[in-house]
Each structure stands twice: as structure tokens, then as C-alpha cells.
Amino acid sequence: MQTEHIEDRSQGERASSSKEGREVKMAAIKLYGMMLSPNVTRVVTVLNELGLDFDSVDVDLRTGAHKHPDFLKLNPFGQIPALQDGDEVVFESRAINRYIATKYGSSGPNLLPTPSAKMEAWLEVESPHFFPLAQTVVYELLIKPLFGATPDTAEADKKAAELDKLLDVYEAHLAAGNKYLAGDVFTLADGNHMSWLFLLTKSPKAELVASRPHVKAWWEEISARPAWAKTVASIPLPPAV
């Protein structure tokens, strides 16, 4: 995986990073973002599941690179990630994941088996239900302290309580003969949860997962996947986490 920075792109489309003066071929897929962002690693999860080569282009939110005109051409909403596949540009991590899972579905496990009503329902569940709650808990209790900011513990506790209720439904679902969210096989429904779920298990609210036998078993199963090990290795978490 090669890395370049968004400000370097003015030097030319086919810029190559070289060590020892050697030209290195860039992959067709470029992922723009920063690896600390779980919305970016939501995509990395799927890229790795499919065994796809990609180049990582650093867009560091801390430097305001996401508001740079070059980046706004890729995502007019100025958010990470964005993905470039040849001439195709896609943004919104879940749209990106659906795009790569469909287009490159034969490179790896079939993450979007159709027809699967159960998969579609639980794929959707992640977005309005799980993500906003997990994001608040992780952001307040894990990310803010890392940057020396004061967490809003009242808000975090409120969302953790809602997440507690939500995970009861997951627990019941997984206990009802579902090894994965869509049933017997790992799908995009599981994959889309992993980046934020991972940080939840590193947060002070990890017991939300650990206290539920089926949710815990599900997390242990999906996080044992070899592709996930590769994804985790690319997340620059500080040693304290």
C-alpha cells in the first residue's frame, strides 16, 4: 500500500512514490482519508476482505485537507473517505462498500449474496441504529481523551444506555440460530459494523459487547478473520489504547 498526501497531487496524476529512486506502479484503486477514521476503515475492511490492492492517500482532518478544493472535487461534502477507481469517484463509505463488493465480488468472499432479505435488513440496521450510538460513545470516551479534550460523559452515558437496549436485539437475533447477522455466512452486514465495533471494544463501554454471549462470540468470530488482522494493522492507534 503506497501513501501520498493530497497536497502532492498537483504534481501530476501518475505521481509515483519512490524509495531508492525506483518507480512503483500505483494501484487502480485510491482511498482518500486517514486510517484513524473508522468511517475510512469501514472501507478498508471490505477492500481487505476482497483482497484488493489499493493506494492510501492521506487526507488529514487535523490539517483541514478535507476542505481543500482538490478534495472537494472528490467529495463535495468535504468528508472522508472518498474512493477513486480508475475514472470512477465514489464517496459515502457504505456506498463505496456496496460498489466494491458488487464490482469485485468474485475476488473474495461474496459479501452481498442475493436474494437475502435478512442481509439487506441488517445491513440497513447498522446505519441509523448502531452507528450513531457507537460513534458518540467512542468519540466521547475514547477519541476525545486521546486528543486531550474533555469528554461529555453525560451524553456518552445516555447513548451507551440506548446502545445497551439496541444490543439486546442483536443478542436475541444472534441467539436465534444466526452465526452472523445475515445467517450462516459473513456478509457486508457484518463487515460494515466492524470499524466502530472494534473501537467500542477498546472503550470504557466494552462490557456492552463482553456481557452478551452471542454478541461477544460474533465479534470474536468476525475479528478473527485474516483480512481483519490486516485492517487492524493499518490503524495507527496509540499504545495506550
Binding site: E88, E92, A95, Y99, A117, L123, E124, S127, V169
Partner: protein, 216 residues
């Protein structure tokens, strides 16, 4: 063929989201009321259809489904014809654009617009709660920025995903319909292409038919 069943009320934006696609397809459907006052949404029967105790839920023969966007996709796929292909799943590039702008509606557009609907309409009318103008002002600020991006996009393409009407455009209908009933609906006047796009959605016969059932 038995009509499909949608559980919930047409006035609920997420139920309406599903009805949009059924109406566009001209499909037979039955709307089954879920009595919130009587806590029917928490009844074992309803929880068997939607384990989160929400509306809509959906049934087509033996198939039971929940999550309005998953149901809407199911409907769009089932009733797809050569003329009415709202998801464009046969073409990776087109499907990607449909997905992008469907996600934008879910995370960015509705996040800015729906608080205004809740504060100005739903809370006062349904819960007797007063409007929090601070929330409204904050949301209007966000919405203006979003509409700027939409204005730019719609100056390049007739619809959001491209030059074809898609799943992405129609997903905007329910909350935008209610937004127009708030005192802030005139905001769209400042974004002529967005306004034109909205009017073209509203003028569709299926949308006209559905709108009539959503007005109290």
C-alpha cells in the same frame, strides 16, 4: 397474487418512504395500521416483524422485512422494468451514483432537514411540545450548506445520480414534503435547480396520490 402488506401509517415519513416505491410501481398493497397509543409496536406480533419495534414492517407472502430503505430496495427490485429501473444495478457506475446520493440523503440531507420537521411540525402537533428555535436555526445553517452542494450537482445533472430519476431522488420525498409544510419551506426558493428538481418529483402522479394520504 396477494397484495403486499405495509405495517404503519402513511403519515410516518419512513412508512411513506416505502409507499413511494409501491405507488411508483403501481403495485397492489395493503396498509395495516399499527396503533402506537395501544403500544401495538411493542406487541409480540409486531416485534416478530420488526425486532426494533418500529414502523414500517413489510410482508410479501412468506417474506418479512424491516428497515424502510431495505424494504424500498426490495420493492424497487421486485417491480423493476426496463422503463422503471430505479436502482440501476446492471451498471456499476450508475448504481454507485444511486448509492452515493441515497447515503447522502440518509446521513447529510435528512440530518439537516428532519430536525426542522420535528421541531416545527411533529413535536408541536403530535406531542404538544414547543418549537426549539435554536435547533431550527442550527439546522437551517447546515441545510443551506447542503443545498449549495445539491444546487451545484443539479446544475450538472437532471437528477441526483445522473440524468435519470432514481431511488436516490425518491428517497428525499417524505421528509422534504413535510419540510414544505413548515414556515421554512421557502428556503428552496434560493436554490432554483433544487426547487425545479423538487417540483418535478412533486408533479409525478404517484407522488401526488401519496401526498393526499399524508396530509392531515
Amino acid at each position: 397474487m396477494a397484495p403486499v402488506k405495509v405495517f404503519g401509517q402513511a403519515m410516518s415519513p419512513n412508512v411513506a418512504r416505502v409507499l413511494v416505491f409501491l405507488e411508483e410501481a403501481g403495485a397492489d398493497y395493503e396498509l395495516v395500521d399499527v396503533d402506537f397509543q395501544a403500544k401495538e409496536h411493542k406487541s409480540p406480533d409486531h416485534l416478530a416483524r420488526n425486532p426494533f419495534g418500529q414502523i414500517p414492517a413489510f410482508q410479501d407472502g412468506d417474506l418479512v422485512l424491516f428497515e424502510s430503505r431495505a424494504v424500498a430496495k426490495y420493492v424497487a427490485r421486485k417491480y423493476k422494468t426496463d422503463e422503471a429501473d430505479l436502482l440501476r444495478e446492471g451498471d456499476h457506475s450508475e448504481a454507485a451514483m444511486v448509492d452515493v446520493w441515497t447515503e447522502v440523503e440518509a446521513h447529510t440531507y435528512s440530518a439537516a432537514l428532519s430536525p426542522i420537521v420535528y421541531e416545527c411540525l411533529i413535536f408541536p402537533l403530535m406531542h404538544g411540545k414547543p418549537t426549539d428555535e435554536k435547533v431550527v436555526d442550527e439546522s437551517l445553517g447546515k441545510l443551506r450548506k447542503v443545498l449549495e452542494v445539491y444546487e451545484e450537482r443539479l446544475s450538472k445533472h437532471r437528477y441526483l445520480a445522473g440524468d435519470f430519476l432514481s431511488f436516490a431522488d425518491l428517497n428525499h420525498f417524505p421528509y422534504t414534503f413535510y419540510f414544505m409544510a413548515t414556515p421554512h419551506g421557502a428556503l428552496f426558493e434560493s436554490y432554483p435547480r433544487v426547487k425545479a428538481w423538487w417540483e418535478s418529483i412533486m408533479s409525478r402522479p404517484a407522488i401526488q396520490k401519496l401526498s393526499a394520504t399524508m396530509t392531515p
